[in-house]
Amino acid sequence: MPHNRFHTIVTTVENKPGVLARVAGLFSRRGFNIESLAVAPTDDESFSRITFTVDVESAPLEQVVKQLDKLINVVNIRELDPQSSVDRELMLVTVEVEEGHRSTVLELVDEFRAYVLNENQREMMLSLAARPARLDEFEELLRPYGIVELQRTGRVALPSLEEKS
């Protein structure tokens, strides 16, 4: 499966200009592509959380992670194991609903627990927050009706909670 090459890295960085470029630069210099990226301040505004997914073999990734850790502005870095973390992504999608497709699209909205954000006679804008794989499915099912525009945020993730005794 190509999917076990995907790794989710979570870093806490100083919320300062240029930090994202420094982080991204360590990937681009090796020709690694960042598949997905989400950045926003943490609860403490002087820090940001960067969550990114890369499609890289483990060995070179370990090296990049160590080099990321050396960046002066990177405070903390870890790789999240898919088995012990929870990830979510948000998608906004505008889909065509002409020719009586409205009701079938609404059935999908129900099934996926998506929301209708906006609509007119010919198009409907939907939002769905879910696991990234679930977004893929939703996207595939909507495709036959005609996707007008689509935007995903990139995944965010946190470690799963452990059982407390």
Binding site: G18, G25, Q63, K66, D69, I72, N76
Partner: protein, 612 residues
């Protein structure tokens, strides 16, 4: 357990050369905390507080307001002729003194001209602080005159860089920059300063002076390593104790950690032989009987083979560079690896380790010594067979070259030997990049740390003259020789003007073989002697006239008998720089050699040593 003759170490040199007391070297108008001053004065004052006694630089529009307060400063400003020179001088100063070198250049082309030295310092872990002027803050991003994205361009070639946006941040950021440059794995730090915040005529430059302290630093993500993990140290000590064919593989990190003395103690305690990489020449005395010399592509047979045949490599501040390992999948196949490095990202980067110890090399070696003593020195494995293997190799394959026949051009190795024998052991040698660099490293005898300065990681042609100038400025009482090639000389020779005018009497041994010799060598050996783009010709430029035009004394040497007298003459001249041009044989190649793509087992010795 090992009775080695100790090399006397006159005033050399395991401490960083002390910087002048900042309180002594204050500008006449020392601001008091809380005084309102401008950012330009604050910058100069902040540099003085870091102990900076010399700045290498060249001004321009964006740094005019910084150059004005420099006039009133105790810091010496050395006006270079090209900003690349300023960068390499700062590096040479840092290599020789252990203190960070400082360069000051203007925006745009000033900044781009210093990118090469920054990259050089980055890959060789040289502490330096580079200050670049920038267009006024409001003009950034408008393609203003002499604007370039300096922090963007230098992001990948500095340990860290700063764009200062407020005058009030200057003292803190200067302090942070010196802290980052000199702690952990050292490296270059750049501070980009927009003109408006240092310009006395601009209200944005007004700030209230404060003396930045460690507690003012805002570096939550910066945690340089200190001592090594005791469990790892113990595990390393056990591997070392039990190894029968161990080698201490010593890299430039030993010098950065000022750890030469404890290294000597550790080697003598355990009786383990030492190789010193190109970056570490002098970290362990060449004349010590445990010293095997330099490994790598042009290392000597014994050092190369010792690494290759060892059962344990103890890497101390080295990084398994491809010039040392040769073809990686065949490198030291039987060796376990202990890897000591201050940089976590180096441990296991190239070669899988058995024990990694992250920490300052000096502290880790001290811990290894203690742990070895606790275990009892007598428990060290028996290594007599290994020692006799090594001395057998040394006897069979010493460094070798053929002496020139009467009427032939000089042998470059002979020139280096003569230089070595006519200069004191604490002479500082700064080399360029090419064959002459390899001959210098191979044939000089390095018995003291901080006497060998070269561009190892980046291999920057033109490094030697400015680096020698920087070293001489930092160590004015020491003799400093640049060993240069004709190709290198033509890249940075103009800094000899700087040296003449600023009274920095360095000496240059120019090995003129009329070729980009190292490239010629590869074409000779691997491209069927098809020489393409490597011929410089020995006669143009006329190096003697050129050197004299730059204010230097100049001597040309053609034959072996003239070599020693010319060196003696050069050593008598101390009121200006001297260039001695040696006409050397272009056909000479550097041996031994591990051809690229081959393993260290395929080391090729001099043709006359081959066969049986």
């Amino acid at each position: 357990m090992f009775s080695a003759q100790r090399i006397p170490n006159p005033n050399l040199d395991n401490t960083v050369r002390p910087s002048p007391d900042p309180e002594q070297s204050m500008t006449t108008d020392t601001p008091a905390p809380g005084d309102t001053i401008n950012g330009g004065v604050a910058l100069v004052r902040a540099l003085e507080r870091e102990g900076v006694d010399v700045v290498f630089g060249l001004p321009g529009g964006a740094t005019l307001p910084i150059y004005d307060p420099i006039l009133d400063s105790s810091m010496r400003h050395i006006l270079v002729r090209h900003e690349q020179g300023a960068g390499h001088m700062a590096q040479g100063y840092a290599h020789a003194t252990g203190r960070p070198g400082v360069a000051l250049v203007t925006s745009g082309p000033g900044a781009t001209n210093i990118v090469t030295p920054l990259c050089d310092a980055h890959i060789d872990s040289v502490p330096m602080v580079c200050i670049t002027g920038q267009v006024p803050y409001a003009a950034i991003g408008t393609d203003a005159f002499q604007e370039c994205d300096t922090t963007g361009i230098t992001m990948a070639v500095t340990k860290h860089n700063f764009l200062v946006t407020e005058a009030a941040d200057i003292p803190r950021i200067v302090h942070e920059a010196f802290h980052i440059a000199t702690t952990g794995r050292p490296g270059p730090v750049l501070i980009d300063i927009p003109k408006d915040i240092v310009d006395a005529n601009n209200p944005r430059s007004a700030m209230q002076w404060y003396e930045a302290r460690d507690s003012d630093m805002e570096l939550p993500g910066y945690r340089p390593a200190g001592t090594g993990d005791p469990d790892a140290v113990r595990a390393a000590t056990e591997l070392i104790r039990d190894a029968v064919r161990p080698v201490l593989y010593v890299g430039g990190g030993i010098l950065k950690a000022r750890a030469a003395e404890v290294l000597l103690e550790f080697a003598e305690l355990t009786g383990i032989p030492v190789v010193t990489t190109l970056m570490a020449r002098g970290a362990f005395p060449d004349s010590h009987e445990l010293c095997l010399g330099m490994p790598g592509m042009h290392g000597n047979y014994t050092a190369v083979s010792a690494l290759q045949e060892s059962d344990l490599l103890v890497s101390l501040g080295a990084r398994f560079d491809d010039r040392v390992t040769g073809r990686l999948d065949g490198f030291a196949p039987d060796a376990k690896i202990v890897h000591v490095d201050i940089d976590e990202a180096e441990i296991g980067k190239v070669r899988k380790v058995d024990v990694g110890v992250r920490g300052d090399a000096k502290l880790v070696i001290e811990a290894l010594i203690e742990c070895t003593k606790e275990m009892g020195v007598e428990s060290q494995a028996e290594r007599g067979a290994w020692r006799s293997t090594l001395s057998g190799w040394q006897e069979r394959f010493p460094m070798f070259y053929e002496q020139s026949q009467p009427g032939d051009l000089l042998k470059p190795q002979y020139v280096i030997e003569q230089l070595r024998d006519s200069n004191p052991a604490d002479t500082i040698v700064a080399s360029g990049v090419g064959q002459h660099q390899m001959y210098a490293s191979q044939y000089w005898k390095f018995d003291h740390p901080y006497t060998w300065i070269n561009s190892g990681g980046l291999g920057t042609m033109g490094f030697s003259i400015p680096a020698a100038i920087g070293a001489k400025v930092g160590m004015p009482d020491r003799r400093v020789w640049a060993i240069d090639g004709d190709g290198c000389f033509q890249m940075t020779a103009q800094e000899l003007v700087t040296a003449s005018v600023s009274k920095i009497p360095i000496k240059v041994a120019l090995l003129n073989n009329g070729y980009l010799g190292m490239v010629r060598q590869w074409q000779d050996l691997f491209y069927d002697e098809r020489f393409s783009g490597v011929e410089l010709g020995p006669d143009v430029p006329n190096y003697v006239k050129w050197s004299e035009a730059m204010g230097c004394a100049a001597i040309r040497v053609d034959s072996p008998e003239e070599v020693a007298p010319a060196i003696a003459e050069a050593n008598e001249i101390n009121d200006r720089p001297v260039v001695v041009e040696f006409r050397t044989d272009p056909r000479e190649n550097v041996f031994p050699m591990v051809p690229s793509g081959r393993t260290n087992s395929d080391v090729v010795v001099h043709p006359a040593q081959r066969g049986e």
